[in-house]
């Protein structure tokens, strides 16, 4: 029997293939009993809720008192560093099969489909490394700032934590996010279409403070080179006006030190700019008067256009949005049921002003509610009510940022940029809901 097929009505057979061979025979037999009973209930016109999802043990349900209401609980502090419930164990970053040749130069995607609000939990922030993840002893980490400066300096982490600090909420989006989708839908879920995207509260020293501390040459300084201490020694050119505006030399992530995957103990945070500029394991900042044309801003992370020429230093991540629920791979079981449509919008140019949602493939739009806080260069959560009538639907979101820029369609993007570059795909995403309620990644 195909485990994906509902037995009937709203019943979905329990997913045996998630059980190992060990658990299968016994559990399967038990579940068949329960599911069979549920199917009978549905057929008899009884409320189907009991047949949906996890088959709870009636002994744990009202009016009975479950064991966790009687057993003495775990000691306070049983988990000195709290971890998610085991029941959340599948809410994890994932690698897209076949995307990269090595697991060191690769990317793990954030499970946006399961995220609430705008803050990405630290353990789920997407990870992109170029020569593997460096594990650094913070007491031996040094930041060198030199070049067109009065006094070149080396800072310890202890030094950096003593400077005046700021905390701000910003997204980081890889320039190649949604890059697999330029020609045709290629990946099944929002984790893979848009999951090179995360948002956190970052704490650190304004880069301008450090540039002042070394006495940078205000007349000649035009660009900053940022360099990582990992094996890739990744380098990117940062224009001086960005550097003096809102760039942070960050050590904090959502209230704790950076995770290793995010460059522990120090990274650059360049709000609104391609993820690769947020150089992790930051070891060096050099003040200069020309861009560096590094490999990660020439051969990579630059935009090959239809005429065969390449746009270089395309730093800005333009306004973009996506519905995270319902989204690809989900399954709506209640025809005529209420569903909240919710998702994320963001812009590298500032705040999100408005998000519109369509359920008919872009023919008609309704304006969604934006949840506060609405912050510049941060994720913004939107939501809107939807009663699905059971007929096929095409869900889209379209955002407008504070500059008035409207998120483009894929056709509009392709007309200008073609399909040769994986970068800067901020097209409107379409999720198709079919008559069975299954949600698919499609292009209209």
């Amino acid at each position: 029997m195909d485990p994906r097929k509902p037995l009937q009505g709203r019943l979905i057979q329990a997913p045996e293939n998630f059980l190992s061979a060990v658990g299968r025979s016994r559990r399967e037999a038990l579940r068949r009993l329960v599911v069979g009973a549920g199917a009978a209930a549905a057929a008899a016109g009884l409320p189907a809720a009991i047949a949906k999802g996890y088959q709870a043990n009636p002994k744990d349900l009202p009016p009975n008192v479950p064991p966790w209401s009687q057993d003495l609980g775990k000691p306070v502090g049983a988990d000195p560093y709290g971890v998610p419930s085991p029941y959340e164990r599948t809410n994890i970053r994932r690698l897209s099969p076949g995307l990269t040749t090595t697991t060191q130069s690769s990317v793990a995607f954030t499970p946006l489909q399961n995220q609430f609000g705008i803050i990405t939990p630290n353990g789920l922030h997407f990870e992109r490394d170029h020569n593997g993840r460096a594990d650094i002893n913070p007491y031996e980490h040094r930041l060198m700032v030199h070049g067109l400066v009065r006094e070149a300096k080396i800072y310890t982490m202890e030094d950096l934590l003593r400077f005046p600090s700021v905390s701000r909420i910003h997204f980081i989006e890889c320039g190649a996010n949604t890059g697999m989708e330029w020609t045709t839908p290629a990946v099944p879920t929002v984790q893979y279409t848009h999951g090179m995207l995360s948002c956190a509260e970052w704490t650190g020293v304004p880069l301008s403070t450090l540039l002042d501390d070394v006495g940078f040459d205000r007349k000649r300084a035009k660009f900053i080179l940022a360099e990582g201490a990992d094996a890739s020694g990744l380098t990117r050119t940062i224009p001086i006006d960005f550097a003096l505006d809102d760039v942070l030399v960050a050590y904090g992530q959502n209230g704790e030190m950076l995770r290793r995957e995010q460059g522990y103990p120090l990274r650059l945070l360049v709000p609104g700019v391609q993820g690769v500029s947020n150089v992790k394991w930051l070891r060096r900042l050099k003040v200069g008067d020309q861009p560096w044309n590094t490999r990660e801003e020439s051969l990579q992370y630059s935009d090959l256009m239809p005429d065969g020429r390449t746009r270089q230093y395309t730093w800005i991540q333009e306004a973009k949005s996506v519905i995270t629920s319902p989204s690809g791979g989900q399954h709506l079981l209640d025809k005529g049921g209420y569903y909240q449509i919710t998702g994320l919008a963001w812009s590298g140019r500032g705040k999100i002003r408005r998000v519109d949602v369509s359920t008919d493939g872009g023919r008609n739009w309704r304006t969604a509610a934006l949840q506060t806080p609405i912050l510049g260069k941060a994720l913004t959560r939107f939501r809107i009510d939807w009663h699905w009538d059971g007929s096929p639907a095409l869900l889209q979101s379209r955002c407008i940022d504070e500059t008035g820029f409207v998120q483009p369609t894929m056709a509009q993007l392709q007309a200008v940029r073609g399909t040769r570059s994986p970068y800067h795909n901020n097209a409107i995403q379409t999720w198709q809901v079919d008559t069975e309620g299954r949600v698919h990644n499609v292009r209209v």
Binding site: V22, Y54, P67, H146, A231, G233, W292, D307, R354, T403
Partner: protein, 329 residues
């Protein structure tokens, strides 16, 4: 200085913060040490297109071939042709085609960048392990593979910036994506009614592709979400993913000392337990509790002591295995 900062300072002064010195101009933090020329020299490895930053040294194409064969060919192919990793050679003229091939020869605009990248990030298993001479040599060899320099070329601080790459003029700046207030190149409008005509699905993922590439993706979704009833509760997924095989766990926690697979030792055989509870849907929870708190009277007079060794997940895996009839696999 902001008003709030002044107030904060005044408060500190009022509290008698002895020795408080406010640095004039707010910039004299006395943090960090002066970087010495030697320290800077060790880390200052970046190379610009004009050649600034190139170190002393040199390397020929012939020398580069040896270095390449020993360090690079394993991934890039003997002639830089392997497409498993970055293709190094070929592709000139392909960038306008429907199958553009970005290589050192076809896409890169400056040979200095080739040196800089090899010097900092290659060889992949151990970066920064080549000498400057070796990096010059490999750079020369890769340029020669692309027919950009002749076989007698010697790369150095003097020659590398002079190399004219085929795509030298293929890059340009587009201010629309360089500046926060740059003028964008797409111009959608926020139409609200009767906007798109003839809406039709023009692209979708081929049937079977997701299953073959990603397997069963149902556990990618939180089971609690009302739309995801078909997703397994993560607890179920967890059950199938015990890190250690139950057979190993029963050894690790000493269960096998008293329980045989199919014969009674001190306690009942695991398969006897399975048989006894085979039609009891609450058996799993009951047995977990019994193992935790200990028990007696069901199988005989010798009590089973409380067991707090296994974690909850480990215990659950053991119980499920027992109830499944203690299978070999």
């Amino acid at each position: 200085m902001s008003g709030s900062r002044l107030i904060a300072l005044a408060c500190l002064a009022g509290l008698g913060a002895a020795g408080w010195v406010y640095a004039a101009g707010a910039q004299d933090y006395h943090l960090g040490d002066a970087a010495t020329p030697q320290q800077i020299a060790g880390w200052n490895i970046d190379v610009r297109p004009d050649g600034q930053g190139l170190p002393p040294g040199q390397g020929s194409v012939a020398q580069g071939e040896k270095v390449f064969d020993a360090n690079c060919a394993v991934c890039h192919g003997t002639f830089g042709e392997s497409n498993k990793y970055m293709v190094l050679a070929g592709g000139v003229g392909s960038l306008k085609s429907d199958a553009p091939l970005s290589t050192v020869g076809s896409r890169l605009n400056f040979a200095t960048t080739l040196f800089d990248y090899i010097n900092r990030a290659m060889p992949f298993p151990r970066s920064k392990s080549l000498t400057a001479d070796e990096v010059y040599a490999v750079s020369a060899y890769v340029l020669n593979l692309n027919d950009i320099v002749p076989a007698d070329f010697v790369a150095s601080r003097a020659t590398l910036p002079q190399v004219k790459m085929p795509n030298r003029d293929g890059f340009y700046e587009f201010p629309g994506l360089m500046q926060v207030h740059g003028k964008p190149d797409t111009h959608n409008t926020a139409c609200m009614r009767d906007c798109a005509k003839d809406v039709a699905i023009t692209g979708s993922i081929p049937a079977g592709f997701v299953e073959s590439m990603y397997g069963d993706i149902r556990d990618n979704f939180r089971g609690l979400a009302t739309m995801n009833d078909q997703a397994p509760p993560a607890g179920e997924a967890l059950q199938g993913k015990a890190d250690v095989a139950p057979q190993a766990l029963i050894q690790q926690f000493g269960c096998a000392g008293c329980h045989g697979i199919d014969k009674t030792i001190v306690g009942p055989a695991f398969r006897s337990v399975a048989d006894k509870y085979k039609s009891d849907p609450g058996a799993e929870q009951r047995l977990e509790k019994k193992v935790r708190s200990g028990g007696s009277g069901v199988w005989g007079s010798i009590p089973m002591p409380p067991q707090d060794g296994p974690s909850d997940a480990e215990l659950a895996a053991i119980i499920r295995w027992v109830l499944a009839g203690a299978p070999e696999q």
